[in-house]
Symmetry: C2
Subunit: 458 residues, 2 copies
């Protein structure tokens, strides 16, 4: 046991208690009713940063939810690591599928259960506690800054502006983020790329009121049927997206890159079993790893219209709605994709209904080089804790703000994530294994140590 492991061993119960305090705050950014909880979460974090030894910690208001900033500067000659995370979480519906209360965290079977346990309160908290550890043991080797936002799950709408307004404050050599997964503790990985996203909401309106489906059925274009037709027209039989121009800017991976990717282990049977399906399907001509890693996709996130209650109601509904998101790959611009989508829907809408399309949020894809000092530092840190060299993985998820960081601040990010796919983030029964939590805390000081060394050596 070295000083890192010892510190964790001594303080682990307090670490969990303090994390639970944050998990108990229902900071759901999608819901306006939770507005005050966002402030409560930010204040809780400020207290934590000061407790861990920050020189200063500050809550910045934005036009949305507040941003928490904290820092400790040890020397102008040392490199600076900016840690990014978010304190907002996803909605918790459907509540009846949770085995415990989402905002009353519990430990069961060696895991922390609760909304945000992994994404991203749990993973963010590893950094706060690692900072405390480095600080209290006198081993802080880099300057450290924290920027924690409350709008990641709704598209980080105000963080770009915050970055533009505080460039000086946020100056750093690298941004370190734990908001992703690794393949497994046995096959550790580091995320080397993220997909972008365009998230749309569609409203189809037919008649001005719900009609009797017998009296009017046969003459009136049913907006629910029309929406289904339109959605069905968004992909062809090969699962390629049919929106004209959609693939125009797609970054096509070379043969070599696809070959490296194919070496990543993938167990189709286990994958299907873990999500309870008996077959997979996706874009023709690509493997499962490629379909989520390097190819754009389109999914309905929600659909509703007409009578959805118990029993029967014989109406021809007035309206139908859908939330549809497209995951994007490098070079695709979210706003452009949103515009193409809107244009196409307007074109294919049948006479007799009107269509309103809203662009709810978006973000660009991101690729990280795997030969940079920060990648190497992360690689060594993860290997020393997990006992195996991590492999680089292009993730299917999106952290749109990562592309913004590069554009606005000119800083590259490193995505050293400790979540597992079984953590059920965004789903009922979100969880985070205690072992991943503590190994995450252990990895961070090792990253700092190596990063300081590499930067010093350059």
């Amino acid at each position: 046991m070295d000083y890192i492991q010892k510190y964790i061993e001594v303080h682990k119960e307090r670490f969990i208690d303090e994390l639970f305090g944050l998990l108990r705050i229902p900071s759901i950014s999608a819901k306006s009713e939770n507005k005050m909880d966002m402030v409560a979460a930010a204040e809780y974090l400020k207290k934590m940063f000061l407790g861990a030894g920050a020189d200063n910690a500050e809550i910045f208001s934005t036009n949305g939810n507040p941003v928490v900033f904290a820092e400790k500067i040890i020397s102008k000659d040392k490199p600076t690591v900016l840690v990014y995370g978010h304190y907002d979480v996803m909605p918790v519906e459907p509540l009846e599928e949770w085995n415990s209360v989402p905002f009353e965290p519990v430990i069961r079977d060696g895991k922390i259960w609760g909304r945000g346990a992994d994404d991203d309160k749990g993973q963010l908290f590893m950094h706060i506690k690692a900072f405390e550890l480095m600080n209290r043991t006198g081993k802080l080797t880099c300057n450290i800054k924290f920027m924690v936002e409350g709008e990641e799950e709704i598209g980080s709408q105000h963080l770009g502006q915050f970055c533009a307004d505080h460039k000086k404050l946020l100056e750093a050599d690298v941004i370190l983020i734990s908001d992703t997964t690794m393949i497994s503790p046995e096959i550790p990985s580091i995320t080397s790329g993220l997909r972008g996203i365009s998230y749309m909401q569609v409203e189809v309106t037919g008649p001005s009121r719900d009609l009797h489906s017998g009296i009017f059925g046969g003459n009136v274009v049913n907006p629910c049927n029309a929406l289904c037709d339109m959605i069905s027209s968004l992909k062809d039989k090969d699962s390629r997206i049919t929106v004209p121009g959609f693939y125009d800017d797609v970054y096509e991976c070379g043969v070599e890159e696809r070959k490296v990717m194919s070496e990543r282990p993938f167990n189709r049977e286990k994958y299907m079993e873990s999500i309870g399906v008996t077959a997979l399907n996706g874009e023709l001509g690509y493997t499962e790893i490629e379909r989520t890693g390097i190819r754009p996709t389109l999914d309905i996130n929600g659909i509703w219209g007409g009578y959805t209650g118990e029993g029967t109601k014989t109406i021809l509904p007035s309206k139908a709605h859908a939330k549809i998101s497209m995951r994007l790959v490098p070079n695709q611009e979210p706003e452009k994709i949103a515009a193409l989508f809107e244009e196409y829907l307007a074109k294919i809408a049948p006479d007799g209904v009107s269509v309103k399309t809203r662009y709810l949020h978006g973000g660009e894809a991101y690729m990280s080089p795997i030969d940079s000092p920060e990648y190497k530092a992360a690689e060594i840190a993860v290997e020393s804790v997990f006992g195996k060299k991590p492999i680089p993985v292009r993730s299917g998820g999106s952290i749109p703000i990562v592309a913004t960081f590069e554009k606005v601040l000119g800083i590259k990010s490193i995505l050293m994530g400790f979540g597992l796919e079984s953590d059920a983030i965004h789903s009922p029964n979100e969880n985070f294994p205690l072992e991943q939590f503590f190994k995450g805390i252990e990895s961070v000081p090792r990253f700092f140590e190596n990063y300081a060394k590499f930067k010093g050596a350059r």
Copy 2:
């Protein structure tokens, strides 16, 4: 003013008060929470029948909601009219679109506003008050029986059995029903046919839980997208239903019948304006009147799946649902159509999802001859009150029990309805013009008078 008009004039305010008492009971048959309201409505009706002069009135329990029976037998030599109606109503959602509270009836602009004002509490009440009128004025010319059920809006699931169990009690020469519309007070009409219905609920299941749409999107068959694809496959580009065998038993109208139908006035512009659409569409090769009158159709009544709340949630949902009803024409059998539908959906479901189809309720179509004594009696009654000979109309709606009456009891029904299309039945702001209500009450004794005459003359 004859005795009928005078009696109505003297008692009209009380008639309205008594109807309001019934309208205030939220007897929504689709919702289990309203179970006790069904009993309250039945008891209210029993009181009304006794007050109007019934020899006896009785509430029969069934395996569903109770049936109210009442009668007055004046002579074995007189024909017997069995009046059918229903005291159950449709759900009231979306509540925010109502201009007044659904179960607090009010009079505004010469109309009664509230759920059930027309369908069918208002129209049923006309018969109760007409019975009172005939009784108190000593002009009852036929024996009269009432059978009022509480499950019409959910498919009259237990009334067939009730009829089979009480054949003797229900013996009659004709069944008189006011649960339909006329074209307008200026163009009165009598419904000479009804469509049947098969009402289905579909559940599509993909992964066993909601998944992160980024991590999994591209590999996993999205049940919402799959449902849209399947629904889109239910009709071809000519709006013909593609379920194999669907049209096999359809009663095809002859040229002559279609010619008579084409003489019914239809103002496309006004029709579109009344429902707020700018275009109509339906099965190729048929007119608007034919599309609702003599052709089967398919409509989504409701659809839901995934996240439908405020803002964004990036999930690939576990489930998708739809309520889909098909309106049927003579000779189509609801159970057979339901089976064909289920078979087809199972066939077109993509690998990676499973489909459960439930048959919620159904009923056969009905056609009524227009040269029978009951049709003639209704024709004269309506003409004497509205000043114009009513035209026979094949309605798009369904009253499945009418076909059951013929099968089980061997009695034909006459559909003398006084609703208007603007009454917004099944919709927010259901209403019933006072003038139609009172003209309805006036028409009933005139029907009895002529029916007794025609039956006596045979």
